[in-house]
Amino acid sequence: MIDPNLGSVVASPTPAGVGSNEVDGAGRPLVEVDRLKVYFPITEGLVFERHIGDVQAVDGVTFSLRRGETLGLVGESGCGKSTTGRAIIRLYKPTEGSISFDGVDLTTLSGDQLRRMRRRMQMIFQDPYASLNPRMTAGGIIGEPLEIHGIGSGGERRERVRELLATVGLNPDFGERYPHEFSGGQRQRIGVARALALNPDLIVADEPISALDVSIQAQIINLLERLQGQFDLTYLFIAHDLSVVRHISDRIAVMYLGRIVELAPSRDLNTRPLHPYTVALLSAIPIPDPAIESRRRRIILKGDVPSPAAPPEGCRFHTRCWLREKLGNPERCVTEDPALRLIETGHEAACHFAEDVAGSVEQQQVVGRPASRPRSSTPVASPGDGAAAGDPAAVQQIPTA
């Protein structure tokens, strides 16, 4: 057994002077990201590299993570979701903006201070084959964080590794083995165990299941859910699959071209999406039920996502927006960049016309059945009434909140 005080060898994670005066109340979020920008420079030049532009991977993102919650970060490839996650772990240095973790601004930290903070935030990677050093044993990989932070003696660390293996559902004797001797799902469990080793507060899970087979995905999701309850973890869960994100998250932030376009409690998001992009995204996800599929109407977005090196003026989504087209192409979308604004309780969206989305046929159609009762508790057509759901005219009657 490990001395429970082992962890306190390391200095208090809250550096003196920063946020220590503040009351450490439950009200303060664990992570606060404020106007975060991460740009990657594009250089060109024959001999001397010239800076000719930036890939605006993340361009002004603001959100917070409450203790113990799971925030899902969802979007298509290149939307900046992984970059955001990595910037929080400080694998990338933010170009602008601030990230505060438990009251400490991470963007100003470096060296030892940063390393100490890293004990409290860990990451799980997408590819279980690439994220484990092939020349280290599973035990070495899981024990490495303890070693780096000087926690425990060799024997204690070995004992802890065995416990961690058991915690993630692997045989404790497997510590001696090398990654190539495990299956994909087992490897991902090792990755989870490594992230747990230091008892972190926050885990950033970057597409943790998308490289796994369908039948293995659920194993890992369940594991993550169990561990959250067990160890009081806060998750930032990054994925492209909205149905998975919705399953595991309390709240969801939808990203498009480096911006958060919608942020809502996860139940609200797919019943009452308020950003036209979210509506399209939801409608694009196939549902494993032919009856529902047959009466859904897909919103097919035109064209591809523009390059993050040259995002469109105004609203970034305006080049592909179905709502804008429906509204007769208002100029405002091209000229004015919509800010993320609170539209309903806890539900933010970055669209000038978010109110027009609410109650629209498109919004009602996304999951092929009428929305569950809106918050205003206005009477709605019976949810079980398939005929009503299939008829756009019927759902159109639903009043806007």
Partner: protein, 422 residues
């Protein structure tokens, strides 16, 4: 339009007897093996299915279940020299493809059966322009001048919704986005109006909004032309809206087949039930707990023995370990309809879940426990598995009657309490 090479119609005329019904393709007891240094890989172990004209069939399964190999075998495009058809017949439009001469088979490919592959990034030749690749497809099967073929290529690009086709023809694949490349692949597949189109995970590499574009295009084009479609995917959601019938594959076997509506209404094989319970659904009122399938798919280097799903199955009986059940109608009747909207719902299972169990995702019968592996199976795993696939053995063994969670030591008493947290 005349064909350049001897068409099967001319060469194989005596062999071609148009079946009386509407059947286009019938695969009978197909067996495919791969010969590797480590012995044979049992990729496809006796797969049979049929397809009508204009019908869309979904082949669903996880990676390595044999769904792609089955279709490469139909096209006779198995990687050489390792992959070999070791048994069975593939009859397409009255012709047995397995015994067809290579020249006749080549003439069929692209013209009567076309394929779309998973990764549009790697499926187009990077050093040839789109024009070169499209024109060569057309000219391989039709006597057409370069200019005629080019005109046809432009029509096709318009059809799949590629803007400015004249200029885009001159482009190289790397100058297109993923979605656009997949459209080019579709255009190329449709160039010769094939009777059958095989789409192998056509949208797996694409983003979800692009996936929606491509799937809609594929469905519309196939419907317009009355082209039969085999859609291979691991995503049950994709097949739900795209196909009329579905066959679920596992470890080189079809374990369940039914019309799409019936399969989702009444999933009856433990594997299908497991798959449906291991994916979260967008339309759920609230997030329900997922019930994963424990363990990993079997090592196909071992000769199949018993039901391939037995080691991961919560419903397994003793006999499942040794006796692989055949695909049979769920209602026990002898009558089998293989195609069309009245196709018989068939499964390969000794102990299928009841409707309630299928909804619950686990056995509900009083006192039922999955049968542990008999000694002979364990012995085989120990002698072979330990040497070649250690992880697999551990998982099978860990998968005791109570499932793995109970075998893993309880994690509740982890000693380091998060006491260093503020």
């Amino acid at each position: 339009m005349t064909a350049t090479a001897p068409v099967p119609a001319a060469v194989a005329a005596p062999a071609r007897r148009r079946p009386p019904d509407n059947r286009l393709l019938s695969v009978e007891d197909l067996v495919v093996r791969f010969r590797t240094h480590e012995g044979a890989v049992h990729a496809v172990n006796g797969v049979s299915f049929e397809l009508e004209r204009g019908e869309a069939l979904g082949l669903v399964g996880e990676s390595g279940c044999g769904k792609s190999v089955t279709n490469l075998a139909i096209m006779r495009l198995l990687p050489k020299p390792a992959g070999r058809i070791e048994g069975g017949r593939v009859v397409f439009d009255g012709i047995d493809l397995v015994t067809l001469s290579e020249a006749d088979m080549r003439d069929l490919r692209g013209k009567e059966i076309a394929m779309i592959f998973q990764d549009p990034m790697t499926s187009l030749n990077p050093v040839l322009t789109i024009e070169e690749q499209m024109v060569e497809t057309i000219r391989a099967h039709r006597k057409a001048s370069r200019a005629e073929a080019r005109k046809r290529a432009i029509e096709l690009l318009v059809m799949v919704g590629i803007p400015r086709p004249e200029t885009r023809l001159k482009s190289y694949p790397h100058q297109f986005s993923g979605g656009m490349r997949q459209r080019v692949m579709i255009a190329m597949a449709l160039a010769l109006e094939p009777k059958l189109m095989i789409a192998d995970e056509p949208t797996t590499a694409l983003d979800v909004t692009i996936q929606a574009q491509v799937l809609e295009l594929l469905r519309d084009l196939a419907e317009d032309r009355d082209t039969s479609l085999i859609l291979i995917t691991h995503d049950l959601g994709v097949v739900a809206g795209m196909t009329q019938r579905i066959s679920v594959m596992y470890a080189g076997y079809i374990v369940e087949t039914a019309t799409t509506a019936e399969l989702f209404e009444n999933p009856s094989h433990p594997y299908t039930v497991g798959l449906l319970h291991s994916i979260p659904r967008l339309d759920e009122e609230r997030a329900e707990a997922l019930l994963p399938i424990e363990g990993t798919p079997p090592d196909q280097r071992r000769a199949p023995r018993g039901c391939p799903f037995a080691p991961r199955c919560a419903w397994r009986l003793e006999e499942c370990w040794t006796d692989n059940p055949p695909l049979a109608p769920i209602d026990g009747s002898g009558r089998v309809i293989t195609t069309g909207p009245d196709a018989t719902h068939r499964i390969a299972c000794h102990n299928p879940p009841t409707a309630e169990e299928a909804i619950a995702g686990r056995p509900l019968r009083e006192g039922f426990v999955a049968a542990p592996p008999p000694d002979a199976v364990i012995q085989e795993l120990v002698t072979r598995g330990a040497e070649e696939e250690p992880a697999l053995l551990d998982e099978v063994v860990l998968m005791g009657p109570e499932g793995p969670e109970s075998t893993a030591p309880s994690a509740g008493g982890l000693p380091i309490e998060p006491d260093d947290k503020p």
